[in-house]
């Protein structure tokens, strides 16, 4: 079963993405002509050290780089022509590093935020809509927060807050989910639970998970990409901007995510750590 699943890899549809980003005219490129592919319905982990630009790439994909000097993004779907970045961004639900719950809203209102920030001014709140309210409650049930639907988010622990953030991401019902180290701020046990939970919740979605933790990538990812370290742009040799090494695809364990931590995983973990250290 595992092998057949791995074989299917070749038939999985993909988004091919190419991106460049530069903050100011004279500044170094954060990355230039970087390309990666996202398999539909799979979890792709983007692994890299702090400050390597992986979060910037994620934000650019979400469309949050309006103030950059140069931000080029091309997205191609195998079975279609070049897709407009704006259309791609319509299909994205984004989950940031912090939980970003609004302290003045209750749990259910935070979950329904995507509807509330899009309704006209002076209209009724999203949780007055029976349909949306039921939807929110059923998703809160899935993340195990149903009994706290109406409490203030100020009373929640870090792990619970991330569960609410997961619910807020899930209710948007978008095919693509981009996550930026969402579980980096919680303790090991909570992180493990959240990883298992989100693997189940996002099982049929196209997920791009940015992380600096090799173990998280190994537990969660169908595919793991290693983000290159940024190279300084040298105007004297125009070639240098193109010589950024491509994202490295890494060997991946034979089992499917969410994987259990065991001998197999620790072997891969060791390999990954060696590769990342060699990058420095």
């Amino acid at each position: 079963m595992m092998l057949s699943n791995l074989k299917r890899d070749s038939r999985v549809e993909k988004y091919d993405i190419t991106a460049s980003l530069q903050y100011a005219e004279k500044a170094d490129f954060v990355y230039h002509g970087i390309s990666l592919s996202l398999s539909l319905g799979r979890v792709t982990c983007l692994l890299g050290q702090s400050g390597c630009g992986k979060s910037s790439l994620l934000k650019q994909l979400v469309g949050l780089h309006r103030d950059a000097f140069l931000a080029e993004l091309s997205i191609q779907h195998e079975n279609a022509d070049t897709q407009r970045a704006e259309d791609f961004q319509q299909d994205i639900a984004y989950m940031a590093q912090q939980d970003l719950l609004l302290p003045w809203l209750s749990v259910i209102d935070n979950v329904l935020l995507a509807y509330d920030v899009n309704r006209p001014l002076f209209s009724k709140k999203a949780n007055c809509n029976e349909l949306l309210k039921e939807q929110a409650l059923s998703i809160l049930d899935k993340v195990g927060m149903l009994d706290q639907a109406y409490v203030s988010v100020l009373t929640l622990s870090g792990g619970m807050r991330q569960r609410v953030a997961l619910a807020r991401t899930l209710i948007q019902d978008k095919p693509i989910i981009l996550m930026d180290e969402p579980f980096s701020s919680v303790d090991a046990i909570t992180r493990h639970k959240l990883q298992q939970l989100s693997s189940v919740l996002f099982s049929n979605k196209t997920v791009l998970l940015v992380t600096h933790d090799p173990l998280e990538a190994l537990i969660m990812g169908h595919e793991i990409l290693l983000f290159p370290i940024k190279l300084a742009f040298d105007p004297k040799s125009p070639q240098s901007q193109l010589s950024v090494e491509p994202l490295v695809s890494l060997p991946k364990p034979r089992s499917l995510p969410p994987r259990v931590i065991g001998d197999e995983l620790s072997d891969y973990h060791g390999q990954l750590m060696r590769i990342m250290q060699a990058q420095l």
Binding site: V62, L64, Y94, A114, V117, N118, L154
Partner: protein, 254 residues
């Protein structure tokens, strides 16, 4: 239930008692003439005798302050939101507003009385003008400083700029705006009183000028006491309302 010694009421009472005692000692030790500094009990007696005279003046001043506060807070907030929402407004209007603050409010008081008359309007405008700037700047700073991460999240949900302003930036700015409103609560009475000094026929400021002209210093102090009580009560009411409305604001004082 806290012991009485720990309540703010106890501290307020002790402070007032201490100040009254200091005042009383000052009057009786230095033996200043009564028309320079009346004794606290003389002021209290006048206060009690004048209670029915002072009451309508108090109502007038209170009305001026409340309307001034409403207009000042509303217009300050409105301009702050316009400046955050429209870049040209920010670039063109902010210098003008900064410059306008260089004009002392005291200096334009006679002009305002000339323009808006002897009645309520000129005092309301005075109070509104004097609190406009603190409200504007705290609102503007609060709206500007909303965390980029929240804005990014809202953008990722395809929210419009106007919705982000009202649903994210505005509530997020409330804790900072609250300090502007608290400040306005104690500053607004100054505006109303100046207006009354310059030209009016009623109000606590008018009563003080009237008493001053007749060297009735105890009457002045009685009006002054009433004004202090009014300002403090306004601040206290606003503070309690704001604390309840902005329940998520952190208080990290040990």
């Amino acid at each position: 239930m806290k012991p009485f010694m720990d309540t703010s009421l106890y501290r307020v009472m002790m402070t007032i008692l201490f100040l009254l005692l200091a005042w009383w000692l000052l009057v009786y030790i230095t033996e200043v003439p009564r028309f320079i500094l009346p004794s606290p009990e003389a002021v209290f007696v006048r206060f009690w005798q004048l209670r029915e005279v002072l009451y309508p003046h108090l109502l007038v001043t209170l009305t001026e302050i409340v309307f001034g506060l409403l207009i000042g807070v509303f217009s300050g907030l409105l301009f702050a939101m316009l400046m955050v929402y429209f870049k040209p407004v920010r670039l063109w209007l902010l210098p003008v507003l900064l410059f306008s603050q260089a004009i002392p409010v005291f200096a334009i008081a006679p002009i305002l009385v000339l323009w808006f008359g002897y009645g309520l309007a000129s005092k309301v405008v005075m109070a509104a003008v004097i609190i406009f700037f603190p409200i504007l700047m705290t609102s503007f700073d609060g709206l500007r400083q909303s965390s980029k991460a929240y804005l990014d999240l809202a953008h990722s949900m395809q929210a419009s700029q106007l919705n982000i302003l009202f649903r994210i930036q505005l509530p997020a700015a409330l804790p900072i705006m609250a300090s502007g409103i608290r400040m306005a609560m104690v500053v607004a009475p100054i505006g109303a009183i100046i207006g009354e000094w310059v030209g009016s026929s009623q109000g606590l400021g008018y009563f003080m000028m009237y008493a001053n002209a007749r060297m009735q210093v105890a009457d002045m102090f009685a009006a002054l006491t009433l004004l202090c009580i009014l300002s403090t009560s306004l601040y206290f009411v606003a503070d309690q309302c704001l604390k309840r409305a902005i329940f998520w604001q952190q208080d990290n004082t040990p």
